[in-house]
Subunit: 349 residues, 2 copies
Amino acid sequence: MKATYMFGAGDVRVIDVPDHTIQSSTDALVRIVRACVCGSDLHPYHSMGVDPAGTSMGHEFIGVVEAVGSDVRTVRVGDFVIAPFAVSCGTCVFCAQGLQTSCVRGGFWNDAALGTAGGQAEAVRVPLADGTLVTAPVCEDDDDALLDSLLTLSDVYGTGWHAAVRGGVGEGSVVTVIGDGAVGLLAVLSARQLGAEQIVLMGRHQVRTDLGREFGATDVVAERGEEGIARVRELTGGLGSAIVLEAVGHRPAYDQAVGVVRAGGVISRVGVPQYEDAPVGFGSLFGPNVTLTGGPAPVRAYIERLLPAVLEGTVQPGRVFDRTVGLDQTPLGYAAMDAREALKVAVRP
Amino acid sequence: MKATYMFGAGDVRVIDVPDHTIQSSTDALVRIVRACVCGSDLHPYHSMGVDPAGTSMGHEFIGVVEAVGSDVRTVRVGDFVIAPFAVSCGTCVFCAQGLQTSCVRGGFWNDAALGTAGGQAEAVRVPLADGTLVTAPVCEDDDDALLDSLLTLSDVYGTGWHAAVRGGVGEGSVVTVIGDGAVGLLAVLSARQLGAEQIVLMGRHQVRTDLGREFGATDVVAERGEEGIARVRELTGGLGSAIVLEAVGHRPAYDQAVGVVRAGGVISRVGVPQYEDAPVGFGSLFGPNVTLTGGPAPVRAYIERLLPAVLEGTVQPGRVFDRTVGLDQTPLGYAAMDAREALKVAVRP
């Protein structure tokens, strides 16, 4: 079968690899209907050293179950399934509390410990299938808009939702979202769904911020740094934003979050931090009693909650996809996202 | 009148200063019945540069109102009052939400902007008296144990309580408290009051940790660093402590908190950070979805909640005082706390 591998910075290729097989009684094999390229895939695309063995890529996909191990109970051959970006057992103490990203038996796609491969491929072996996969009452011939929206439940929609939930968004909330990538835009959509009254979107790409407005942003701030902070404070009554959702992951975005958050407020991060140390002392978080929260989204915990509105079409998170390529063209998808010509690229094997 | 000033590291003196007067219609003058030395007073005691003008010291006191401005409504001459360590108006948006430490009109003791002096003195001028002071139905001749407990409501008890509240302590919680100073011990007491089931106290001074056990600690861990982290993890089922209350403020205590907290858990800090940057990235807070919260305690918000049990004597937070000195001996109080011969020193003018 064909699968996407990265061999170094900027070097993505689709190659032939052996077909996956069931290795454990709790495995499923899933033929992939749609996968996609994530903003976080661009980090190794910029920085990965040359590796002739390559790395299997992709952690978001939907597909059809083609085989199951003898102990799999909740998914059957022929089921249409959504795969979260984390593998989870569904029964441990962390899964029970909805923190599947910390599952004691689980892990991720392309995870050496689990022996998993990536989802930008024709098929994937899914360990712990009962705990990981969620079935959806659709078929692969349904329209692209619906499939695209289902695909966002693998990661970006659930991640935007996690930001909003951890940030404590509720009826009447004042929220600032930092970042106009797919996660930032879906954090806007999530905040709107949870009842936010004012949603300030910080981003400078008008096509994206226009979609952000359609998702529910009430204000857009294109300025960055001190100017952007001043503008958000002005828009939020001078005292700052009670809730800030940080969907970028670079240090300037963290500093922006600290700059716009109101005393007593919350910064909820879902952009994977590209830094380890940051200010947390009296002059940043401590003095004004600001809470810092967030992390990798346990999207598995949110899929059942978010699925009905997607199936009804009352929300259309799949609108973040603005390009679709065949599996052979996946490298072009990386290049388009890297050049910011595409917001998010779907891959159709 | 006499007041305590610091003129440089290790140089604390009680000097004669002019009596305070009412300067604004919202002021009160309070004759001090008890003040005390705070662990945070030891930071300048170690590091302050020589300053011939000196700095007025003390931010915790109880006393009797001797005069009020014409607009003061809620306290009267002769009232016994508790003064929080922050001055607050009681009416702004932050005071209304119980975050008096961020009051838009307020500030602190010995605050140049407010023109306030410190409380290790015979008397203090209290700005914004209605928003700041809380009356208590006692008199200065009541027994020392009661007065000591009331004095903790100025800071250390409310600060321990803030740690527990911000940490989300409730019935059945598993809590680790880092630090066996007065705030750490009162964080233990607070966690117990809020229903915590297991309270691990990290501290190595047995007299203090014994008091911690009396306040409700179920386990004491004297080890520090990796050894201490391993011991706490062992005591908390291998996964770590869902709630960590950090009552020290030095970087090793932060690292300890990150080490013992469970995935999905909360680190609530009330020790004033003696650092600005710290790890918050994938390997510390983000990966395991750990929340970092806390800050200067808005003790004004908690006094009414905590006062009844203090008056009834069902809690005795004043037990953290293990020495009382006269105002003239305040410098000896600093020295005793600095040498760790005393846990917390009360000052009786």
